[in-house]
Structures are given as structure tokens and as C-alpha cells.
Symmetry: none
Amino acid sequence: MQVHEFYSSLAIRNDNKIVVLLIDGLGGMSHKDYGYKTELEYAKHPNLDRLASQGTTGMLTPVLPGVTPGSGPAHIGLFGLDPISFNIGRGVLEALGIGLVPEPTDVLARGNFCTVDSQGAIVDRRAGRIPTQVCEERLALLRDIRVPRADIELHAVQDHRFVLRLKGADLDGAIANTDPGAVGAKPKRAKALAPRAETTASIVNAFVDQALDRLKGQSGANSLVLRGFSMLPNIPSFCELYSLRSVALAVYPMYKGLARTVGMDTLECGKTFSDQLRTLETHWDNYDYFFIHYKYTDSCGEDGDFLSKVNHIETLDSCIEALVRLDPAVLAVTGDHSTPAALKSHSWHPVPLLLVSSTSRRDGSTAFTETVCARGALGNLESKYLMGLLLAHALRLDKFGA
Amino acid sequence: MQVHEFYSSLAIRNDNKIVVLLIDGLGGMSHKDYGYKTELEYAKHPNLDRLASQGTTGMLTPVLPGVTPGSGPAHIGLFGLDPISFNIGRGVLEALGIGLVPEPTDVLARGNFCTVDSQGAIVDRRAGRIPTQVCEERLALLRDIRVPRADIELHAVQDHRFVLRLKGADLDGAIANTDPGAVGAKPKRAKALAPRAETTASIVNAFVDQALDRLKGQSGANSLVLRGFSMLPNIPSFCELYSLRSVALAVYPMYKGLARTVGMDTLECGKTFSDQLRTLETHWDNYDYFFIHYKYTDSCGEDGDFLSKVNHIETLDSCIEALVRLDPAVLAVTGDHSTPAALKSHSWHPVPLLLVSSTSRRDGSTAFTETVCARGALGNLESKYLMGLLLAHALRLDKFGA
């Protein structure tokens, strides 16, 4: 039995509200230029520290020790699902990122326009990072391509990137990348990785053949490669699993999309954390579970901008009182993964967690930092267990066994 | 391979003795009326604190994070078995609680007398909580009921509660509750949850039909409902698994029964902790593993009586020297689950653990409290791993691999 099925078998209804404040890329790494502190250790956040002293702290390991997650697995884990079993492929994630809502029968792939020479070998894998406008023009050349047994949709993302969506019966996403991953090589034919995907591979190749005909002669962006073929895994919804009316307050489309995969509603909520909190307040009575996604910490980490990440943590801290005033039965503050400025990327480092509830066992934590949380009473848990803790503290899990 | 099978494959014999002192419902929760301390933090227990300083501490998670266990799963985990795989149903537990020793082929259910109106709809689910004596009288009316393919036993428990035991070949416990769980509804027919239980369901219905005939016309307690149909899981014994001659010193029948399910002997041991320790001393040479069950902390937690739980912890602490003097090779002190007075029920909070042995790695713990143990060197373990630690510290586990 998977962990979400076990928790689901114990779930009961009540009126207690759960809020998860997700600070994207929250965890950091000791930075030699800042006294070997992390961003969270360097920042001043008296309000988060006070919450830590009123609750219990711990660490979340997004997937397994040492594993750096993409945004997909990192969120799937926080939503209580095993991120290895419920892997969201790149094609699906790219689609979610532009606001598409894939059907479980669709196959999605991330497409890149590239530039090939007269022999068909790739000379520029990103087609000179053409503007999105040019990407749109190239896609317009391809939109009326028809193939047997599937409908094709093409959606521009940004620069040279687009999403290919195949709609039809009996499609399968087990198809290898056509991107050879190197200049000098030719794009590969789509190849099924399992017999059940043979038909889909032939559909993809029929599309690519016609596309290449139409792109021939264009100056740059005259070919394309596809990768991350995938289908939306069959994910049960929060409402079915836990009888939770749930909503995500996220600014970026991809996080809204990820939340929708587990059956959450999404709401337009402006751009700033204060906007998000105002939306939360307005809709407080309509939901049981609120997922607030704060993006900017991750972006600064990716940029290697230690001090900006510090600033965004401090901004968030200064607004958090409005959230506390709503008095949720359970408030968890954590991240989906670490994004240390020192690494300029996601990382595998565990993520600090604080959990405040009237049912908390206070553990003597006096601050919300990686070092304090690593000694917290919740210990180091795989993210997929957070959901069980949230439900328990909200008294929404029945006793197991007599 | 399950964890008990793996440990079993490494088990070796020697003369080192293991003692587990199980303080039922030991773990607590921060209580706002007592300076946000838990019962264990509030109590004075210098002897347990000294043991902590001589050993290693940690926390046990009974089942999984957030999961509140019943007594069955909580003990099964401490006995080294996965509590989700070896789930003991309510019927079996109820039988163990009155000292029955079910055969693995028996089906057991918890029965309640209830009162129905002339249409057969329930008007009182507990039949006015009739005295146990009346329960006995009603059962006497039903004892000579005969049905094909099974023998029936009926045992009074307390008030309106009784145990139904079916004995026969090819019985199966996959049967839904006949208790509709609400006043105004009629008791349901027994229904098989799997084809293999069809015969058993028809046996149950044949019994109930005759029982209702005989109860008709009684004033109150004129009907019955059944729930928690279950069979004893096929549990290997400590002796087979680990070559351990093991004994439980428990006052309450249910805990003796749980211990017998893993092949432990049980001994009459009086009512108080001092009585239990005297019994231990008398039988010291006859066993390798001693399980001492101290009940009163749990009862006080269930009653919401913080200070009584504190007192019982202090009483236990004051007697513990007699146990230490026996000089077991390994002494573990822990709980089966938490029962915070603030919640008046079992809870999901992890349980403190201390383990003292000449093979301990001292971890600098200076007290036996939730907060100290949460920072202890054993970390936070699922209860099912305790058995491996006990055997290891007693040098009863061979090296794995070359």
C-alpha cells in the first residue's frame, strides 16, 4: 500500500483548516562570502522564529537523501504522493507551466526549434534563441499538419521552446527523446521504448516528417527536436483522498498546474505575497487546505543572488502576521527543495520545516534555520509524510487499528 | 523481505538478557496549563534521567508519521513486526482483552446488544448500557443456538459488549460490520467483503436470525450488532524468530493476549509495578526477554488527568532501581504510543526511547524527556526496528554478509 492510500484510509472530515506556506527553494548552503551562513541563517525573520518557538521543527528530504528534485517531484512529495511512483515528465510539466490542463490520455513533449545544415546535422541546438514571436511564426507553419489517429496541438512557450500535445485514443508516452543532445548530430527518429508506444512513435514521426518539409528553407529554426514525452500520471485528488476542499494560491502557472494535478482549485492572487494573503483571507471560509506558493526565493537562488534571497525571506517574514491572524488549526512553513545561491541551482539539501498547531509538541526550537530545524523534534522526514502530519495535527486522521 | 524476517536470519543465541519496560501511552503533548510542558517533562524522574545519561536516547514512531495507533498496532510494532502488514482486528483484540486465546482458524467479532423498536430500527445503540450481569443473561438465551459448519462461542465483556467466536474449517473474517453506526437504522445483514467469506457471512446471518427470534420481547437489549470481524494474523513467535525465551509481565488481559500472539509466556504478576518487579526477579533465570507493561500512565492520559499521569511516572521512577539491580544486558524504556492528557486519547506523537547497555554509545543525553530524546543519537525510528536494536545490543545478531 502506498503512503497516500494508507493516510486516505484513515482520513476523516472536520472543520479544521490547514495552511502550507511553501517558500520555493527555501533551503540554502553555507556561503563562504557570508560567514558560512545560509540565506535563512543570514536573514532576520523574527516572526518565523517566534512561530518556531511555538511549534515543532524538522527537516524534509524531498525524494531521497542526495537527490535533487525538479519542481515536479518536489511538489508531488509535499502533496503526499511518492515522487518516484508519480513522476511528472518534462512534457507534462512544460504544458502545466503555460496553463494547459492535460487529459490523462494526452501525450506531451517539450519541443525545441533548432538549426540544421544541408546534411540535416544540428549546428545550433537553440536556433539562436529566436524570440518567442519567431517561435509563434514557425508553429503557425505547422498547425494544419494532419496525421492519422491523433490530433496535434502546438503551443509556444518562450524563445525556441514549445509544447507538442497529441490527443487521441491509446496513445502512450514511452518514447525516447529525438534530441541527440549535441551539435553535429542529426535529430533522431522517434522510437518506442515499449511495444505499447509503437503507434504513438509512428504518429510522432509522421508529424515530424511533414514539419521538416515545411521548415525547409527557413533561415535558422529550420528543424526541431522533441524530448520528455510523457502523460499525466493517474493522480487521485485531495478531495477524494482526504475529503479536503483545497486551493492553491500561486503566482506562476506551473505551480497552479501542479496543484491542479492533485485536484486543487486555483485562484488569481496578484503578484506579491501580500496579494496572496489578501486572496487567502477572502476565500478563508471556502476551503480546508490552502497551499501558498512563494516563488521569489527560488529565482534568486537560481541567479546566485544570496542577498536578494535574504531580502525576499525578510519581506515574507514581515507580512506573515496577516496569515497568523487567520489562526489556522495547522500552519506549516517549508520549501519544496533547496536552491542555494552558492550553487545557482536546485540542490539535494534537506529543507527546513516548521509546524505550528494547538496539537504541537513544543520542542524548544528558538529560530527557523536549517541548523535549528535539523535538531527539531520532527526529525528528517521524506516530504511525502508531511501530508500525514498535517492531517494528524488537524485531527483529521482516525486511529489505526483497535 | 519483511524486517522481522531479516533480523531473524541473523539471530544467534547467547545468555544476554533483554528487558523492555513499556510505559503505556508514555508520550505527551505540550500542555498550556503546565507551562507548555509534557507530562514527562513536568514529572521528576531522577532514576530514568540517570539511565538516559548512561545510555542512548531516541524516538519511536509507532506506525508512520501522523498515524495514531490502537494498542494492537502499537504493540505489534514494538514486537518487531510491521504493524500495517500484521493488523490485529477489533474482534481479535476484544477476545485477547478477556483472556481468550484465538486459534488462527477462528473468526472473532465484537458484539453489542442494542435496543430496537417494533420495526427493527435501533433506538439505543448500547441498550442503555445494561449491566454486565444482564449481558450474561441475554447471552445465556443464545448459547445453545446451532448453525451448520461452525461452532459458536459467546463471551460477555462488560456492559452491553460481548465477543462472538466462530470455530470451524474454512472460515474467513472478511465481513462488513452489521452495525449501521446510527440510531434510526436497522442492523445490517452480514455481508462478505470477498468471495472467500461468503460461507462465513451466511453462518453469521443464520446465527443472528435465531438470536433475534430469542431476543424478541425482551425489554431493552432486544437485538445485537457485530463489528470488527477478524482472524488472528499468522504471526511467527519470538522463540522461532530469534531463539528468545520470552515472557510478558502485564496486569491487563489485553496486553497479555497481545504478548501471546508473538509466542510470549505470561505470568500472574499482581497489580502494582513493585509486584511486577518481584515477579521478574523470581523468574529471572527462566527467560531471555522480559516485556513489562505499565498501564496506568495511559489510563490517566485517556482521562485527561495530567497530574495523575505525572504521579504514575514518578512512582515508576522511584521503583526502577530494583530492575536496574538485576543488571540486564539491555534495558529499553519506552512507550507503545503517546496518550497526551491534553488530547484525552492516543495520539500520533513519537514516543521517547532510552536504551542502556554495556554496548551503548553514550550520546550525552542528561534527561529522559520528549525534547531530549528527540535530539538523541538513535534518531527517530519506526517501532518495528526496536527489536533489531535490542538484539544487537545483546550481541544476539550475527554479522550480515562477508
